[in-house]
């Protein structure tokens, strides 16, 4: 018992200590965990541990639930405007198409009967939320929102579908009287319906109750974890999709403007990483004793089918009604990262103890590894190549909630002054600052100075400001800058000049001498750009007008509010 604990914690410790390596060699950190798990699995104790399928199953579920809860809390309602419908289409039909095509390929490649082949296709059919979230955030990559929102929502919401298909297929394989269409439909309805209702109700209740409780600060994040897992277990108990429930619950909690959210997220970030670590270590452990690595060529072939045929096909078919450009579709097809979910799903056949059950973790391992290796490492380059990257936004160095009796959610933000704005040093006189902020202090060479309007700020200073969340971005843009390639410099990307979205094309024609057809004269820039796109506009969208290019610079309530002008 104690030995198991020592073993598990030592693996964790080694993985965490080694994690900085992953940045240096440009390898996703998850692969490193997988490697540690593989190595540990070679030991006698590791082999002993991996035989306990039941506890592995439990850990897998727990870990996945935690990851989805965290992912849900980080999904912003705003992203639903552009991402919800395409993501849901991808998460339902997309999963089925991917699973069917890959399953068909598995039938040929592995020579298995059709049902187990489809099961293989299914367990590797869902895009992994944690891998996508981690990779998108870690690279400091700011992507076209149409793409990032779709990917984030898809990866969070497609797991229930994959799990459902896995359960159905397992029933078909194991039962002597397989479920008919009616029963399958009922199962789908129960899974999705109960999951949705349970998650939404639980999330709503939690978001209501949480601010009213007077708890120790440390208990708030734990309360969310406990409530999430309770709903997860309860919904699962009644044959609903616990994964869908906990994800929806996360979304509810994360979007209610809770004052404690920063602290909750911080703890959950750690928990989600712990969950990831455990899952990948576990997969590594799980594989070694079987020593059946002879499936490598088949696994690679299957991975090729999945990455090059099944996923792109699913993306193109499910996204065509939503007016995505081919670059966007290509990127979404490429970022079909596989991660923790196939690992957990590969445990289902093991639990059911069906024929060829040992094959599933091996295939999952090969495909997850290849996906992370190939797609994970090229994600940033692909985004740049497909021109889906936006100029990065600077952010505060640190933020800390101030708990005092104000109806507003004040926070203390620390900014580091850098870039050419602050050489030579200058004061903030004449600068338009966001409303309702207080400059407090400046840290220069380790010495704290009180902020005064006459104080000349210089590069390297750190400035502490109190204000609301909305003030962070304008302040960050004022104080800091983000180094980038020339093409992503703000003035190059958006053009030097900026126009209001409400400006009429007639005024544009008069002021710049651009030829605009008379029937378009009364159209506003915002409406004109809308009419050029097949999808709701997002920052970075472009529309040509005569010899100039209009670039969407910002939106308010879904309407283009500022437009960059490129000649």
């Amino acid at each position: 018992m104690i030995l198991t604990l020592l073993f598990a914690s030592a693996m964790l410790l080694i993985s965490i200590v080694l994690s900085p390596l992953s940045n240096r060699i440009g390898m996703p950190v998850l692969l490193l965990f997988l490697g540690v798990g593989l190595l540990a699995g070679q030991s006698e104790l590791g082999q002993l541990m991996s035989t306990e399928v039941e506890s592995t199953f439990l850990v897998g579920h727990l870990a996945l639930a935690i990851i989805l809860l965290d992912g849900g809390m980080r999904t912003r309602f705003e992203t639903f405007r552009v991402g919800l419908k395409p993501a849901l289409s991808l998460a339902t039909f997309g999963v089925v198409i991917t699973a069917a095509v890959t399953g068909w390929a598995a039938h040929w490649i592995l020579g298995l009967p059709l049902l187990p082949s489809l099961l293989i296709g299914t367990i590797i059919s869902s895009t992994d939320a944690a891998a996508v979230f981690a990779l998108l955030q870690n690279h400091g990559l700011r992507l076209n929102q149409r793409v990032s929102a779709t990917l984030e929502i898809e990866s969070g919401s497609n797991d229930p579908m994959a799990i459902f298909l896995t359960i159905i297929l397992l029933e078909l394989i194991t039962r002597s009287t397989p479920p008919g269409v009616g029963e399958a439909a009922l199962l789908l309805l129960t899974q999705m319906g109960l999951g949705a209702v349970g998650g939404l109700a639980g999330g709503w209740l939690l978001a209501r109750v949480l601010p009213k409780l007077a708890l120790q600060a440390a208990f708030y994040p734990l309360l969310v974890t406990a409530a999430g897992l309770s709903v997860f277990a309860l919904v699962s108990l009644f044959d609903g999709s616990g994964f869908l429930a906990i994800y929806l619950m996360g979304i509810q909690v994360g979007n209610r403007g809770l004052r404690k959210l920063d602290d909750i997220l911080q703890v959950h970030d750690g928990l989600a990483w712990l969950a990831q670590l455990s899952l990948f270590l576990m997969l590594g452990l799980l594989l070694s004793p079987h020593d059946k690595m002879e499936y490598i060529p088949e696994g690679l072939a299957l991975a090729a089918v999945l990455i090059l045929i099944a996923r792109p096909l699913a993306v193109f078919i499910t996204l065509w009604p939503f007016g995505f450009r081919w670059r966007e579709q290509l990127f979404i097809a490429w970022v079909g990262l596989r991660g923790a979910v196939p690992i957990v799903l590969a445990l289902f056949p093991l639990m059911a103890d069906i024929e060829h059950a040992a094959l599933f973790p091996i295939i999952a391992f090969i495909i997850v590894t290849l996906s992370l290796l190939l797609q994970g490492t090229t994600l940033a380059r692909a985004a740049r190549w497909l021109k889906l990257e936006l100029p990065a936004e600077p952010a505060a160095l640190r933020r800390l909630n101030i708990e005092w009796a104000s109806p507003k959610n004040h926070r203390l933000m620390v900014f580091e002054l850098d870039g050419e704005h602050w050489t030579p040093p200058r004061t903030l006189k004449g600068v338009r600052l966001p409303t309702d902020i207080v400059m407090t202090a400046v840290l220069r060479d380790g010495v704290m100075l009180p902020y005064e309007p006459d104080l000349k700020l210089q590069s390297g200073d750190q400035l502490a400001v109190i204000g609301e969340e909305e003030a962070e971005l304008p302040l960050a843009r004022l104080f800091s800058s983000v180094a980038s390639i020339p093409a992503l410099k703000e003035s190059t990307f958006f053009g030097a000049f900026e126009l209001n979205g409400s400006v009429q094309l007639e005024a544009l024609a008069q002021n710049f001498g651009i030829e605009v057809p008379v029937e378009l004269h009364s159209l506003s820039l915002a409406d004109y750009i809308d009419s050029c796109l097949q999808a709701p506009p997002v920052v970075g969208d472009r529309a040509g007008l005569g010899s100039i290019q209009l670039v969407v610079k910002s939106l308010e309530a879904g309407k283009v509010s500022r437009v960059g002008l490129k000649f």
């Binding site: 003035s491 400006v503 001498g513």
Partner: protein, 153 residues
């Protein structure tokens, strides 16, 4: 067309003392009208103000490039001003402006003038250029510096 080809000594002013965006545009309109004997100062001013209504020409980093098309002008005219103290120009990065480079173009040849405008924005995009111009203490050296900078490019 390069900035050095657009400027003349009377239209290159150093450390101008103005307090507001409106005053800068008024001063510029008057100065240009006196030099051109073409359009009236009021027409130039209203042209510039109308352009500002579409969106500020304060392009950031303390630079503004007010511009408009003007009937009765037969060639592109530029004017460069450094300000004694920065003023609020409603600039896109919320910073005050102390470098104003104005461009007035004829109504024909729109395409060419858009390129001139893009060239100006490009010139002021460079932080060394901006600092070099800010460092000038009199109008002659400002013009000389502009000519030097344009030759380098």
């Amino acid at each position: 067309m390069q900035l050095s080809e657009l400027l003349t000594p009377p239209l290159t002013l150093c450390h101008v003392d103005v307090v507001s965006k409106k005053r800068v545009l008024e001063l510029a309109s008057q100065t240009i009208a006196e030099q051109l004997n073409g359009p009236a100062a009021e027409d130039i001013f209203s042209g510039l103000i109308n352009r500002e209504r579409l969106g500020s020409t304060g392009i950031g980093e303390g630079v503004a490039i007010p511009h408009c098309r003007m009937a009765g002008v037969d060639r592109a005219v530029g004017m460069l001003m450094t300000l004694a103290s920065p003023i609020d120009f409603d600039a896109i990065d919320n910073r005050p402006v102390d470098l104003v480079c104005l461009l007035l173009v004829p109504e024909q040849g729109a395409e060419e003038h858009l390129q001139t405008l893009a060239g100006l924005a490009e010139l002021f995009n460079d932080s060394e250029t901006r600092e070099a111009l800010r460092a000038c203490t009199d109008s002659e050296s400002l013009l000389t510096r502009v000519q030097g900078l344009c030759q380098e490019r």
